[in-house]
Subunit: 228 residues, 2 copies
């Protein structure tokens, strides 16, 4: 390895933020993500994932959080690294490697986020043509989210501290885009849940019970990196 690094590669970060909101046509709970409209070339006028450059004095995840806050006012409690995208031709005028982070936020957090001429929320499966390779990045993030939903407890990130079994199932249905059998679903998740002493009030004859996750089971398996 030569002592001197070659020049000419710039390092950027982008983030994919998913939230569940009603679909504008069907009204069904659907995955949405925020995009930022580019005001400069390349791709001036196109929508892109929130992001920006990494400065020499910040870690990758700090850079991702800072750029996300600056562009959308979103502050997810935890950003997870998704993948580093480094194809030679992914940016037309320069060689840019982007380390992409992702996070899930609850609908309330999403609503607090800035929305204006240059920030907008879009249904994740119905995006316009984005700048750079950002459509491919979103496709990969959607695939990872859906895969992870099958074997981890990532759905929790969309829910409050307590939730009914129906609410949990609806999150899974919205992400996986398919109906799930309530009885089967209950059997699959029951071992990871703790029933609380509370029910949903509102005068129903059989008010549904509230559950919380068993905190002795890890939410996201990130191993020795934990929150790196």
């Amino acid at each position: 390895m030569d002592t001197q690094a070659p020049e000419g590669i710039s390092l950027a970060v982008s983030t994919v933020i998913f939230a569940l909101r009603p679909h504008p046509v069907t009204g069904l709970s659907t995955l949405w993500l925020p995009l930022v409209r580019r005001t400069r070339d390349p791709f001036a006028g196109k929508w892109a994932l929130p992001g920006g450059w990494v400065t020499p004095d910040e870690s990758l995840s700090d850079a991702a959080a800072r750029n996300l806050l600056e562009t959308t006012a979103l502050e997810p409690t935890y950003l997870e690294q998704l993948y580093a995208f480094g194809d030679v031709d992914r940016s037309p005028d320069a060689r840019v490697v982007s380390v992409v982070y992702w996070a899930l936020v609850r609908a309330e957090e999403a609503e607090r986020a800035a929305e204006g001429d240059n920030v907008g929320w879009f249904p994740a499966d119905e995006l316009p043509e984005l700048a750079f390779d950002h459509n491919a990045i979103v496709d990969y993030a959607l695939w990872r989210l859906r895969t992870k939903m099958e074997y981890s407890r990532i759905a929790l990130a969309f829910l409050g501290e307590t939730f009914t079994l129906s609410e949990l199932r609806e999150v899974h249905e919205a992400v996986l885009q398919k109906p799930l059998d309530p009885a089967n679903f209950r059997r699959q998740v029951e071992g990871t849940l703790v029933p609380t002493d509370h029910v949903v009030t509102g005068g129903r004859h059989r008010p549904p019970r509230l559950y919380r996750y068993d905190e002795s089971i890890e939410l996201v398996h990130n191993g020795p990196l934990a929150h790196a």
Copy 2:
């Protein structure tokens, strides 16, 4: 996002290559990895993961493959991206972000690799103090390998095209570092295997049958990125 990227961040790649070889003391099948001795500061004389700089005209995975070939003569058929390590202080004199790749190779491939004064193979769980944050990187790679072994068919990378159930179980035992019950193991993996018409010859009374993986099931779930 400013037009101009800040200067002062260098981009490197490193690779973690795992192979199974007998442990020097116990003789049991154990995970090993190749390291390269640094000939320059920082960390001159210390062992480090094979790697080097990314040049502007090559993708991240091409850079990882080139640096691996140059330092160790290893050419794994497939490198998977592991994680981008970017802590501010991970290199003493410069800001270096390293995108780390990993691969599993069969013992025969490992034996073809260069070994000399400045390249050596080490049992992965008994490493010396490495340069930079490379001990932490290996810990993370070991954790990912062991986790992935539980839910994917990654063990195949250590085996030939056909194998006996005992050989497959021994790979799992070597990686997970624990004995597995043969009958339980058979039940767990049987659905992903196809029995061949062949057995292991050698005059035994009940020669063990050779299996291959069901190729209709994906080996590594990498989704839309496939071999990016």
